[in-house]
């Protein structure tokens, strides 16, 4: 009953830790596969790559995803949980459909080591070999900076909520429990970080909640950058017009240290005591990328070839999503676009062909300024063969103003990206 491919796969992974998708995987396993691609991380980038590898190879490539979490929780729209518009459960999904529809093999486990010489990925409960590896672990928080915020216990008091989940819920509960007249302090790390407009959208969402329920409260944004890094004019206008006197923005204010017990932050210029504190930590490429030595020595992100997303440091290893050093916004849309370019290239390479020499893709990022109105930044990015990087084409830009119409389109964006990634 068991064919060779399946037995090989099971040899290295304990039966309990995997759930095989039925139909396609079993049908295809009769043919010798073109090869095995292991994908680390079932987030926006990794899940998309897995799906399109299966689609474009017509099931010819065996794809195994290793993901630590049992559920997918979307960061996009998670600021709306803070505003009270959405619940975290609206943003939580299972992996069953995408596995079943596309015959993706799935291991729920944590990657603990990667040996790129023997092409082996090690997990808590077994190991897997690969022909090609895709590393898509999202971001990691740099623990050499603000070490006082690293422990799970401290993060109960001062959640980052920069990976959507219970920390998002915790932050919302702290806002609900705060007295009217209280101060919410949040900080933005130096770019590049995950989701350039995300922190400013968060400031809007908290202000929107305060305006309706705690009108005497304040939002203080401490930005390590010299100015708002995305949709600057639009956010400044939204704060001034929708939340006059409520949102205070302080550029060039990097958080240097935090007194955890009193929720007091120190910057070069001042000390500020918060009632609710949200420090968004400085970021770098995810841990699995560190394990495979994919980061640049002087820059904590991964350099890749933008035609294939193969690492410039280690052959047969590809990096996609937030971990990539690209100069592009670290967004879910870019993560999925990179995933598809990478998947398309791997399918071609495994068939002895060549990747597209001039990839082009789009990015659209919506931000909600209150409970209904959103605004966008949108660009097309095109490969520049001379510079060997993706560059924004002319013609991109931001909304003239936030609107309810764009709020509706933002929801459409979410439903479609969730459907594309997860079904």
């Amino acid at each position: 009953m068991m064919n060779t491919n399946r037995r090989d796969f099971l040899k290295t992974v304990t039966a309990a830790s995997l759930m095989l998708a039925q139909s396609v995987a079993f049908a295809m396993a009769r043919k010798p596969p073109m090869g095995r691609v292991v994908v680390i991380g079932g987030g926006y980038a990794g899940t998309t790559a897995a799906k399109y590898l299966r689609m474009w190879s017509l099931g010819g490539i065996e794809v195994v995803v290793v993901e630590r979490a049992s559920q997918f929780v979307s960061c996009p729209m998670s600021n709306l949980v803070l505003g009270g518009v959405k619940s975290i459960h609206d943003l939580t999904f299972g992996y069953d459909l995408v596995k079943k529809h596309h015959g993706i093999k799935w291991v729920q486990d944590e990657v603990t080591a990667i040996d790129t010489a023997s092409k082996t990925v090690k997990m808590n409960r077994g190991e897997l070999t690969y022909d090609r590896l895709i590393v898509a672990p999202g971001v990691d928080f740099s623990d050499d900076q603000l070490p006082e915020l690293q422990s799970p216990k401290v993060q109960q008091l001062i959640p980052h909520a920069w990976k959507a989940g219970w920390q998002t819920v915790n932050l919302r509960q702290q806002l609900e429990a705060m007295r009217d007249g209280g101060v919410f302090v949040m900080s933005v790390p130096k770019a590049p970080y995950r989701c350039p407009p995300g922190p400013y959208e968060r400031a809007c969402q908290v202000a929107s909640y305060f305006k309706a329920h705690k009108p005497n409260s304040k939002v203080i944004v401490l930005d390590a950058n010299l100015e708002v890094t995305s949709k600057k004019g639009l956010f400044m206008k939204a704060w001034a017009e929708l939340y006059p006197g409520m949102v205070e923005y302080r550029p060039d204010h990097a958080v240097l240290s935090v007194d955890v017990t009193t929720r007091t932050v120190r910057t070069e210029f001042d000390k500020i005591k918060a009632d609710v504190l949200n420090v968004i930590p400085p970021q770098r490429a995810g841990k699995p990328a560190q394990m495979a030595d994919l980061l640049e020595p002087d820059y904590p992100w991964c350099e890749v070839d933008f035609l294939t997303y193969e690492s410039k440091r280690v052959p047969f290893v590809h990096v996609i999503g937030d971990s990539v050093a690209s100069g592009l916004p670290k967004s879910a849309h870019v993560a999925t676009s990179q995933a598809r370019i990478c998947a398309s290239a791997i399918v071609e390479i495994m068939q002895g062909g060549e990747p597209d020499p001039m990839p082009v893709f789009a990015n659209t990022c919506y931000s909600f300024v209150d409970d209904k109105q959103a605004m966008h930044v949108a660009n097309v990015f095109r490969y520049d063969a001379a510079k060997k990087i993706m560059v924004p084409t002319e013609g991109g830009g931001v909304s003239a103003k936030p609107s309810e119409q764009e709020g509706a389109y933002a929801m459409s964006w979410a439903n479609n990206i969730w459907s594309d990634v997860l079904t």
């Binding site: 474009w56 979490a69 049992s70 559920q71 929780v73 975290i88 459960h89 609206d90 943003l91 939580t92 999904f93 299972g94 459909l97 990976k163 219970w166 920390q167 819920v169 879910a332 849309h333 999925t336 676009s337 598809r340 370019i341 398309s344 062909g353 990747p355 597209d356 020499p357 001039m358 990839p359 082009v360 893709f361 789009a362 659209t364 966008h376 949108a378 660009n379 097309v380 990015f381 924004p392 084409t393 002319e394 013609g395 991109g396 830009g397 909304s399 609107s403 119409q405 764009e406 509706a408 389109y409 459409s412 964006w413 439903n415 479609n416 990206i417 969730w418 459907s419 594309d420 079904t423």
Partner: protein, 130 residues
């Protein structure tokens, strides 16, 4: 490689004037198809996998592109590109595309099967997960 790009550019700029002809009029090289399949797939975050968006194509929802008349798609994108038709976001995308890409995208989406797509079901976030 260079030659094939050149040929692609030549052919598609000729075809530009005869949009609406069957795809057999296009001489796709494997590489041109690769270029369009990933570019078209980048539209999926709003317009759905292979151009089938979730929802009912109501106003204020993104529309499905699968099975659409290619002339309609080209016409809209060219109008957004020229600033002749207003949009919330599409002019920012259309202006970044070449005329060749617009034509090939329209052909690509026109050929896709119309399928009903749904967003995934949301779930209760489990206790204890991060």
């Amino acid at each position: 490689m260079k030659a094939s790009i050149l040929i692609f550019a030549l052919i598609s700029s000729l075809v530009w004037s005869v949009v609406g002809h069957a795809t057999e009029d296009f001489i796709f090289s494997e590489r041109d198809t690769l270029h369009i399949r990933t570019l078209a797939a980048s539209c999926a975050v709003c317009h759905g996998t292979l151009g089938n968006a979730v929802g009912e194509n109501k106003p204020m929802e993104t529309v499905s592109l699968a099975g659409q008349d290619p002339n309609l798609i080209v016409g809209r994108l060219m109008d957004y590109r020229a600033g002749k038709r207003t949009s919330t976001v599409m002019h920012h995308h259309a202006k970044g595309l070449t005329v060749d890409e617009i034509n090939l995208l329209a052909q690509h989406f026109a050929q896709q099967k119309v399928v009903k797509r749904y967003p995934p079901q949301s779930q209760v976030l489990k206790e204890g997960s991060r």
